[in-house]
Symmetry: C2
Subunit: 542 residues, 2 copies
């Protein structure tokens, strides 16, 4: 594949400009009841966004990037100036962008990427690798860290696909968006099976650089599980790992490149395991008595090797809010409640399960799991809400834009811990967020779900909503984010299960890996990026 | 656990001195027919082994290691002077040891390990971490690399076990041998499920440091799959990763420590996933028409998520030799041949399958797999040869000593590749070994089996036997080893799937990870081991 055929997207936020879900009136009423009133947020026009004048770039960079491969138009720059975190969206919507790349390089080949990095290292130009721009941790924000010039290196033209159908391994270009990769594989009857919420816009290179985990990670694996080989263009040359199923030859360089978030170089190729596309998708929902018994049920599934491909348990807050806000409104909600009353289950926690594969395998695996789910005290809600979840799996970021328009701060964060610490971990983070958000006197909604289950533990994903504090959006966000991160590290949980570190989590890296861990990563970076031009200010604390 | 209760082992080779299997007369006859006559090898007495006088060590080291924790007796030194590669065994048996550590430190705690490393770094004393001493790649050989003093750091006293039974995670001391770890887990109804051929003597720290893979890796995972956290004592401090099921916080330092082979520091604790001990073990054997169809069958199992916990396919040479030499002798062999004739299968390749777990899960999984196995053209040989394989799974190294006594060189090596390259990979390595071994005019036997299967490929394990060349054992071995390694890297296979790099594979690391990969690993080593004292001459090429 070649040429840049990126879809039309909003410059100021998530996704397709033609899609703007409305919150049903009863949803809005519920939100106001739970969280309070908010002052709607106006968005500036593109022309009103404040962008500094671009620093001039040397002719050698233009030459290295290739013909027509260095874009310096205002919109190009604005569109690579932010990701999708709440502070990023506030920067875009208010027009107080702060900074933007001086230009956007769109090299057509891995060789052009390598040449561009060489020039940037020689000239002292900072480089922010840019895939889908879907980072929610400030991973693509233009942090100059002392460099006068900074470019975004957009990988959208690197979209090659080659497939070894016998070994079920595909080599994918980093610029392929999720649907592009899946379409290319589907032509061969294959799938990657990586479906994070950002699927529609995020790229293969980004998945690898950030250790993305898809919603079906229990079945297909996290993205880092799928990666068999990588090629990394660094300012000092190429790092490439063998295309073999496994090696015991020393520390894993593949596992050092995966998760490197553009701070060591640019991932120019990713080898991934693929599999036969499933014949059947079976999604359904269940109601567990409470979050703890829902989590226990998932622990039993994980420890008995009976995990569905998708499994997630919403806590009480997420269950009732999602039924009320968007998931099941009006008549359908009433019918569901009637059904639950019939099953003598009036509160509870929603569980989504999904199986994919051959019909035979789905039936066999589901039978084993359903026994454990029922033994855990959950009652079936049938296929309809499961299929509704599946249809709506990429809608969250759109709904968030609607809520932002209405004046609400909406942000997510996630962590993971072992089963023995998971309940107290959730309580600590929920409490930290709630206490901080309510400290200004307003209301808030803090919701959590368990997903990405393992034999030894699971991830927890938090969504929090509060009326925005006008003109103090970033401070409000920072207080909540800091409280949550401090609660996470004080519990010994990981600062991120699948959103990566970026700029926002970098201060917590010493808690994650220790000072010597930081020093080790820094030594590796110094070797591969001696000028320090690669995505400065990300991953490692200053 | 504390105190050193290591089992009595041979100083000159593998295992329990009371166990010495005899080759049945028909086995010896077959060997002579296949490979030729050999001149029996005499073993020297312990007293005859040449050991250089030990270099004096500073009092500060004695103090750092702890009371009675620095052993300098002759036998202690000789016993930590070699692993279990053919050159190591020749060095021991001939008494031409070359070198030995100046002393053996046996610190009682992780803190004492850290103190000892600090002193060694300050004083310029090389340190070879020593677990079970079962390396077959020269990983524990005393390579001074310019250091006047060298100690072995034996971890046998670090054998703590703590288990989080809810999360099914155990923290294990590095000095625990395989059976010790399994015994401690069995008391709680748990198992690790890591059963490499070296199981009886190899240690937890060694498994982690070398990326060991057990025979049941398809079911329980390789050892590196099981590791959730590590603690590493380095000369500049401790590196420790969080005890969480997964993190997306940057490059994986856990995957840097795993596989580091003692070159970055000493692994002082390993967190591992454990699971319920199986109720049932079901092992059986099958005969595939030939190696290629056997491999295709395993590919189908892997790609259909139907792998047994153990699966291995012997090639024609290994099948007939193992039936003849040891596996099935005399009357049993005749009966087996009669049975195979009845099934119209006179040649072919032996396949071993094993399932472990609850009776229900074993039955369910076996039913799915057996269909694919039969569809692949294999016929059942029933349980008896499967169980015989399981009973004899740790006997290989003993049989090797018998063959060494008889005067035969016996060595193994292994690699891995994708399914699309696996057949030509096997042919290339088999040919390289055969051509080299026969170049002196003698006979040889080169056998191969496929094991450790993945969706994208599998490992290949080679055993080669030839009449030893008296007084030129090392040269003979080196020629064969070099030919095999060169064939492996020229095919783009990995130089090791689970034996690690050690000294013997270090020259091939640039082919494995490239010059920039080597430089990256070296940069991290320089940061953690600036004096270069940790296991010099291993992993990285000089």
């Amino acid at each position: 594949m070649s040429g840049a055929s990126a879809p039309v997207t909003r410059w100021w936020g998530w996704g397709d400009p033609g899609k703007q879900p409305e919150l049903p009136p009863e949803g809005l009423a519920l939100l106001r009841e739970l969280v309070g009133e908010a002052e709607p947020m106006q968005r500036v026009e593109l022309e009103e966004v404040g962008v500094p004048d671009p620093a001039p770039l040397p002719a050698s960079l233009v030459e290295a990037a290739g013909e027509h491969a260095l874009l310096d138009g205002r919109e190009h720059r604005i569109r690579r100036a932010a990701g999708q975190s709440y502070p990023d969206l506030v920067r875009l919507r208010t027009g107080r962008l702060g900074d933007a790349p001086d230009a956007v390089a769109v090299p057509a080949t891995a060789e052009a990427v390598a040449r561009a990095l060489e020039v940037c290292a020689a000239e002292g130009i900072a480089v922010v690798p840019f895939g889908g721009g879907t980072s929610v941790v400030g991973g693509v924000d233009p942090e100059r860290a002392g460099f006068e010039q900074l470019i975004a290196l957009d990988l959208r033209r690197l979209r090659d696909v080659t497939v070894d159908e016998r070994s079920l391994v595909a080599r994918l270009g980093p610029g392929l968006r999720g649907p592009e990769a899946e379409d290319a594989l589907a032509e061969r009857g294959l799938t990657l099976g990586h479906f994070p919420q950002s699927f529609e816009y995020a790229t293969i290179g980004g998945f690898a650089a950030t250790r993305s985990a898809g919603q079906a990670s229990s079945g297909y694996g996290r993205f880092d599980d799928m990666v068999t080989s990588v090629a990394l263009a660094t300012p000092v040359g190429e790092l490439r790992t063998l295309d073999v199923p496994h090696t015991a030859a020393g520390p894993s360089l593949r596992e050092l490149v995966v998760g490197s978030e553009g701070t060591l170089g640019v991932i120019t190729e990713v080898g991934v395991r693929v599999r036969a596309a499933p014949h059947e998708h079976r999604y359904e929902a269940w109601m567990a008595p409470d979050f703890e018994s829902g989590a226990e049920m998932v622990r039993a599934l994980a420890q008995d090797d009976a995990l569905p491909d998708v499994v997630r348990v919403s806590d009480e807050a997420e269950t009732s809010a999602s039924l009320g806000l968007a998931g099941v409104a009006g008549a359908r909600r009433t019918a569901l409640h009637a059904y639950l009353r019939l099953r003598r289950r009036t509160g509870g926690c929603m569980v989504i399960t999904g199986w994919e594969g051959t019909s035979e395998a789905v039936a066999r695996r589901r039978a084993v799991a359903a026994r454990l789910i029922r033994a855990g005290g959950a009652v079936s809600l049938g296929h309809a809400p499961g299929e509704a979840w599946r249809r709506g799996r990429y809608e969250g970021p759109y709904l968030r834009e609607t809520l932002l328009d209405l004046g609400y701060m909406v942000e997510t964060l996630e962590t993971a811990h072992t089963w023995s610490r998971l309940m107290e971990h959730r309580e600590a983070v929920t409490r930290a967020l709630g206490d901080t958000l309510r400290s200004g006197g307003g209301g808030c909604l803090v919701m959590c779900h368990l997903s990405h289950a393992y034999r030894d533990g699971a991830s927890l994903y938090f969504t929090f909503i509060a009326p925005r504090r006008p003109e103090a959006e970033i401070e409000q966000w920072r207080a909540a984010k800091t409280a949550a991160c401090e609660a996470i590290v004080s519990m010994g949980g990981t600062i991120t299960h699948h959103h990566a570190v970026g700029r926002d989590h970098a201060p917590y890296m010493p808690a994650e890996v220790g000072d010597l861990g930081i020093a080790t990563l820094a030594a590796m970076k110094e070797r591969l990026d001696p000028a320090g031009i690669m995505n400065p200010g990300k991953l490692l604390p200053r």
